[in-house]
């Protein structure tokens, strides 16, 4: 029999209250919401980057390069320890994750092995075959090294992004060696990308007095030197001959800032070493007075000043051909430190603020028009019942938005499309019920009986039919990326709420109406 179920009334009221509770914060702006009283929810629907504008970057850390470096360090360690203990060797070389060496005297192989083991890091396995030693990093060591590299990279990227003045950035690890950076509302993504991607390894070398021209005439570089490009390709000196030995690195920097040089009026980057660095720098500048220092950033010379006097205060200036922006960027890079491994941008999605605003406007308009079209159509088709279904649609949208707020979902443009689509598809549950009621009335049943049966029969079909759409939505959520995930979320929540509104809410309204007014004829 058709009757009002008290529990359903209670359930609907509870859902209404919850919906209102969660929808309220969305009326306010982001800053106002924190000022709301404590008993109210402060959760809001977030706008995706495609709606508020911003950059999404997928970065990959080249952790293999760190392992390669470690392998080369390992080769150095082996060479040192074998030389020290005067064991003869040949064919010493590095692999991607380890090194090989051949010991000339087979009898000394055990001695060599022990000798090397004492002088190298843990986590390295040594295998011997005949007179050959095979050294390789253990799997755990490789995994840890990779993980550490990615962690450190994330830290450096975070510092750089924070320093660039981006509001509310999100920096997260994804998978093994990837980092997802989300920069909402960013104005100049190119600059931030350039900041993030730079390795920014700062090294202090001495310049060799030999000029590049002289070296070319001789046909070879002086021993222990290498050729380095000038970072400013327009400068007079295009290349330099730099001594290989690294005297000091950027790791010893305590601070860096862009300032204007009082004498020249040009932009410089002022830096300050920590205690240990200052001491070293003092020694370098004392030992090499009147010679030229070479300051290299990522293996390019950014400045090659002459040391006029010993610098003991641990402070100095880098004067290159800087603009205010490039000086500031370099200071940011020096403060944040260098990346442990090169980073590559695998994917970028940037939406400008104007497109975001247009998309929101377009979404609102499409939702309003779609809503009106469906509402009018339902009334034309189902008369009084159409109004009930329309009420369900309105409630459905409110419920959908409140649930999106409750889980603090991210609303994207495809997500808005999902809401509009829900308006069209969510009436399906009601349509199924109404059509069934009509059918039962046609077959000569009483009004009450028809309504009762209509809901009873339709419920199975509604569950069956919606389940398949849910499967599609869940798979989309699982496999989709950012904006598409937003679509999957609104679509699946829309399906769930539509089942609630059709099977419980409108049933309650229809039952209440029929029991109260006892109509002789149903306008459906």
């Amino acid at each position: 029999m058709l009757k009002i179920n008290k529990w359903n009334v209670f359930f609907v009221l509870a859902v209404c209250v919850t919906a209102i509770y969660y929808i309220i914060p969305n009326i306010y702006g982001k800053s106002e919401v924190t000022a709301l009283p404590k008993f109210l929810s402060q959760k809001q629907v977030n706008l995706g980057l495609d709606l508020q504008g911003g950059s999404h970057l997928l970065l990959e850390v080249d952790t293999t390069s760190v392992l390669k470096e470690k392998s080369e360090d390992l080769v150095d360690d082996i060479r040192k320890s074998l030389r020290k203990s005067k064991i003869k060797y040949s064919n010493l070389g590095s692999k991607i994750t380890g090194a090989v060496v051949t010991i000339s005297d087979p009898e000394k192989i055990t001695a060599a092995k022990n000798n090397i083991r004492e002088n190298i890091e843990k986590g390295i396995t040594i295998e011997e075959s005949k007179n050959k030693l095979n050294l390789f990093f253990s799997d755990q060591y490789i995994i840890e090294t990779r993980a550490n590299t990615v962690e450190q990279s994330i830290e450096v990227v975070r510092k750089r992004v924070d320093e660039s003045g981006t509001k509310e950035p999100s920096i997260q690890r994804q998978g093994e060696e990837r980092i997802v950076v989300q920069l909402p509302g960013i104005k100049n993504p190119e600059r931030v990308k350039a900041l993030i991607g730079r390795t920014a390894k700062l090294n202090f070398h001495m310049l060799d007095p030999t000029t590049v021209e002289l070296a070319e005439q001789r046909g070879k570089l002086p021993p222990g030197t290498f050729k380095a490009l000038n970072s400013d390709p327009t400068a007079y000196e295009k290349q330099f001959v730099v001594k290989k030995r690294v005297l000091l690195t950027g790791e010893r920097l305590k601070n860096a800032a862009a300032t204007v040089d009082a004498q020249t009026g040009r932009y410089v980057v002022a830096f300050e070493f920590d205690k240990k660095g200052a001491k070293k720098f003092a020694k370098i500048t004392t030992d090499n007075t009147y010679q030229r220092l070479a300051i290299l950033l990522d293996n390019k010379v950014i400045s090659a000043p002459q040391i006029r006097e010993p610098i003991t205060g641990g402070q100095g200036n880098i004067s290159g051909n800087f603009s205010p922006e490039t000086a500031n960027d370099l200071a940011v890079l020096l403060r944040a430190g260098s990346l442990p491994a090169p980073i590559k941008v695998l994917e970028e999605r940037t939406v400008g603020p104007s497109l975001g605003i247009d998309s929101i406007e377009a979404g609102k308009k499409a939702l309003a028009i779609g809503f009106i079209l469906v509402i009018v159509f339902m009334i034309i088709r189902y008369k009084a019942f159409g109004i009930v279904a329309d009420f369900a649609i309105i409630f459905n949208i409110i419920l959908l938005i409140s649930m999106l707020s409750a889980i603090e979902a991210t609303l994207t443009m495809p997500g808005i499309a999902g809401i509009v689509l829900t308006v069209g598809m969510a009436v399906d549950a009601n349509v199924l019920v109404f059509e069934r009621i009509k059918e039962e009335i046609r077959s000569g049943r009483s009004i009450l009986n028809s309504i009762d049966l209509g809901y009873k029969f339709a419920i199975k079909t509604i569950l069956d039919a919606n389940f398949t759409t849910l499967i599609a939505a869940l798979l989309l959520y699982n496999y989709g990326s950012g904006p598409i995930k937003g679509f999957a979320v609104t679509l699946s929540i829309g399906i769930l709420t539509s089942m609630f509104t059709a099977l419980i809410l409108t049933k309650l309204i229809v039952t209440f109406w029929v029991l109260r007014l006892k109509p002789n004829k149903l306008y459906i």
Binding site: K193, G370, D464, T468, S481, P483
Partner: protein, 293 residues
Amino acid sequence: MNFNINFFKYRFIAFALSAFLIGLSAFLFLTKNLNLGIDFKGGIMIEAKFSDVPDLALLRDKIDNLQIGNSEIQEFGDSNTILFRLEKIDDGNITQEEIIQKLKNELDEDTDYRRVEFVGPKVGKELKSIAIKAVLFSLIAMFIYIWFRFSGWQFGLGALVALFHDVLSTMGFFSLTQIEFNLASIAAILTIAGYSINDTVVVFDRIRENLVKTDRELKELLNVSINQTLSRTLMTSITTLLALLALFIFGGEVVKGFVSAMMWGVLIGTYSSIFIASPLILFFGFKKVEEKS
């Protein structure tokens, strides 16, 4: 509305039409292929809005002179907005940032960059395999669901054939219109799949109900079931199409491709659940006794 249409009279016409549709889709797919977006192909896409209507020929010349690989230029939405698509040249000499910067240098300073997207070849390949997986898994999951829910493999297979019919012809639609095929297209295909099965399930549910309730001959029973649910099938298709129409006209350029595919999908899904899925049950040799046992 009370329908009494003999759909089975048209089943061979429908089968022939569908066979033609699938054949055409396959032909289009093989000859014209899909207009793969950078999501799957990799490359750079820039949507730029100019303050004045730009000279397309001049723009094309400028970009050809940059020598940054193959490029495509087209109007996007209005004549002030241009969509640039650049194939990524992966020779290691030039990074994508540099390519984007080079292009930006050629354009006016007050150009509004509405969208800048770059997908590396590695990510493109990954997205491709993810997309294929998503579509395959959802088809399998739906098939399994139908199989369990309705006794008789004929139902599962009928629904699956209808589903493939809809998905394949949607691919044909993408191929014919050359609408960009991207991640949103995959979302469209999966939603169409869900919608199509949804429609089919409603008819199947009614068939199942009628199998228990009436003693009609199977062919007639199927026909009655389709007619009984026809009103609902059409109603839901119309409201969904109305919502999609609003999105198509007012929803902006970004979702237009997605929405047009969805519209096609709703039409073809409705057609297939009426003309393909149910007649196939008969075609596959479903017998009433089988249901009762």
